[in-house]
């Protein structure tokens, strides 16, 4: 059972036939996200033979491995030893982070679920736009689709459950919301989250030197613009839709 009490964490659990998941928390939390990012880097640094790949999610690190080379028990022991080496919840954020300001249309036909989300959060649409656009959120993890960020944390008023039915399709650049987070979509996809904003931001370009725009730890703010303004920005800047980045000072 996923418990919310922090005493149970970190947890080392088996994922499928050939994966281990190390979790630093069962709910969204800045410290456990920082822990996951730092711990993943440390696992990579171990260069254990038999580890196929690693990934950090919101509060966990996944390690895929080849059990015939590296048996479960041996990997689990190595991961527990690494856990004991330091207090991962105190780990710093990765270096080289950037702050992105992204022009965003809230609501309208471009993002038709703003009203529904505002209602669920107990706000008017105008209040919801003020609240969402004022939030400076961080890339907690990249996942679901290429270069696609999970962004948080929003205030508790935005702790809205996912929808029971999937929205059949949201477009590239869609800003969707649930459980105190945003996701910015890198490709058209179905989603259980509510489509509250629309941007012209391209997160992934297969052929480019730097195929992925964002890194975990980057920060973002989604600044409200009108639909005509966004369309103009996208025309001038088809790749980023007017989004701008600056380095976060060391």
């Amino acid at each position: 059972m996923d418990r919310q009490d922090t005493a149970a964490y970190p947890l080392v659990r088996r994922a499928g036939l050939s994966g281990i998941l190390v979790s630093f928390g069962g709910s969204l939390n800045e410290a456990s996200n920082r822990a996951a990012l730092a711990y993943r880097t440390a696992v990579e640094t171990l260069k254990l033979e038999g580890v196929v790949e690693t990934m950090a999610s919101l509060a966990s690190v996944f390690v895929r491995f080849e059990p015939s080379i590296l048996p479960h028990g041996r990997l689990e022991a190595a991961l527990r030893d690494l856990l004991a080496e330091q207090d991962w919840l105190q780990a710093p954020l990765p270096g080289g982070r950037r702050f992105w300001r992204v022009p965003t249309v809230y609501g309208t036909d471009l993002a038709p679920q703003l009203a529904e989300a505002a209602d669920a959060a107990g706000m008017s649409e105008a209040q919801a736009i003020d609240s969402l656009s004022a939030a400076r959120v961080r890339v907690l993890t990249i996942g679901f689709a290429p270069g696609q960020p999970y962004l948080g944390s929003l205030g508790q008023e935005w702790d809205l459950p996912r929808q029971t039915e999937l929205t059949p399709m949201v477009p590239r650049g869609a800003l969707v919301q649930a459980i105190c987070q945003f996701v910015l979509f890198s490709n058209p996809a179905p989603t259980g989250w509510r489509h509250v904003g629309q941007t012209g931001f391209t997160l992934f370009q297969a052929g480019a030197d730097q195929p992925f725009a964002l890194r975990p730890g980057d920060e973002m703010q989604f600044e409200p613009v009108s639909k005509p303004e966004l369309l103009k920005l996208c025309e001038a800047d088809p790749l980023r839709g007017g989004a701008e980045a600056r380095e976060i000072g060391a």
Binding site: M1, L17, L58, Q148, A178
Partner: protein
């Protein structure tokens, strides 16, 4: 460059190989062939590396013209195939001459058929692989007019046949517990394994819907758990407790809870189940799962030795080809995707 020109093609055909491991952290799942066993079978028949790319054809094939002499192999979901009107054995390797036409019809059983070229299909790799990954926006479905270029071919052996492992009509799926299994009450997990499922109408390379009579399969705290890594084979419950078995082109993370993980070696059976096929799940221990998967890996290594010469005795040929259309004219009427079942 030698290759096959696509003259006509079904709506869900794409070039596939073993996919792109190592990009999970960038949000790209491994992807690759829905039926990786078929890739290995094709490689065995052509005496080449199973990492080479082939054309995956969902539900129906197409028509192809050789631009030069080529070796081909046909594997996966059995489809009616003919070269210049003469029926070709499935799960076998053949030779094509320049200008010859190959026609491949609808799947008689299963979903995904594969057309392999000697030397592999040598399209330009993207991020380290040739597999089209529609979910990630890498590449696109094959279209009429495309050339499937053949890589350099190091063998000239053809006329081999391989007995295909039965995986085209549903059956039992072996499943191990994973980190979210305890979110499901014991009684729900037990009922899950006792339930007769059939493949639903929603299925594609990302996942396959399972439908059953009776109540759904819900976890505690179903809609508010943290998004976590997804593995191919994970059985995800959507909000209404309906199971989807996720395949290799699934998303990399997700928040719907997963009751367990189907063994990798049973995923071809999931991908190849046609709408309505009967499927069941059986819980097994991690140790059993590892043994079964290891035995599967070993059996893959034995495929090249299991290939035997295609029998030329007419009586035997008739038996081998018992499902082929005798005229050699291929019908595409039975396309299971024509009714919008592919999504």
């Amino acid at each position: 460059m030698n290759g096959l020109r696509i003259l006509r093609i079904g709506p869900v055909a794409s070039v596939q190989d073993m996919g792109r491991p190592g990009l999970l952290g960038q949000g790209i799942s491994q992807g690759g062939a829905a039926d990786t066993l078929a890739l290995a079978e094709g490689a065995a028949l052509l005496r080449q590396n199973p990492g080479l790319a082939a054309l995956e054809m969902g539900g129906m094939g197409g028509e192809f013209e050789a631009t030069g002499p080529l070796r081909i192999a046909l594997t996966g979901a059995p489809m009616a195939a003919a070269l210049e009107g003469a029926a070709l054995a499935w799960n076998a390797s053949h030779r094509m001459e320049a200008g010859q036409r190959l026609t491949i019809g609808a799947a008689r059983a299963g979903v995904y058929g594969y057309l392999h070229l000697g030397g592999g299909i040598a399209t330009e790799p993207v991020l380290g692989a040739r597999a089209v990954h529609l979910m990630a926006g890498l590449g696109r479905a094959a279209e009429a007019g495309d050339l499937l270029p053949a890589g350099s071919d190091n063998s000239d052996e053809t006329g081999l046949l391989l007995a295909a492992e039965e995986r085209f009509n549903g059956g039992e799926l072996r499943i191990v517990e994973s980190f979210q299994s305890p979110l499901f009450p014991e009684a729900v997990r037990t009922r899950f394994a006792a339930t007769a499922f059939s493949r639903g109408s929603r299925a594609n390379r990302m996942g396959v819907e399972m439908v059953s009579d009776g109540a759904g399969f819900s976890a505690d705290g179903q809609l508010n758990i943290l998004s976590e890594v997804i593995l191919p084979g994970d059985v995800q419950m959507t909000g209404d407790g309906k199971p989807f078995v996720l395949l290799r082109e699934c998303q990399t993370t997700g928040g719907y809870p997963r009751i367990g993980t189907v063994l990798p070696c049973d995923l071809p059976k999931v991908a190849q189940a046609q709408a309505g096929a009967s499927l069941r799940f059986r819980w097994i221990s991690l140790e059993e799962g590892l043994e079964i998967q290891a035995a599967f890996g070993k059996s893959l290594k034995g495929l090249p030795a299991a290939c035997c010469p295609l029998v030329r005795d007419p009586a035997a040929v008739r038996d081998l080809l018992s499902y082929q259309l005798i005229s050699g004219a291929v019908s595409a009427d039975a396309d299971p995707f024509a009714k919008g079942e592919s999504t």
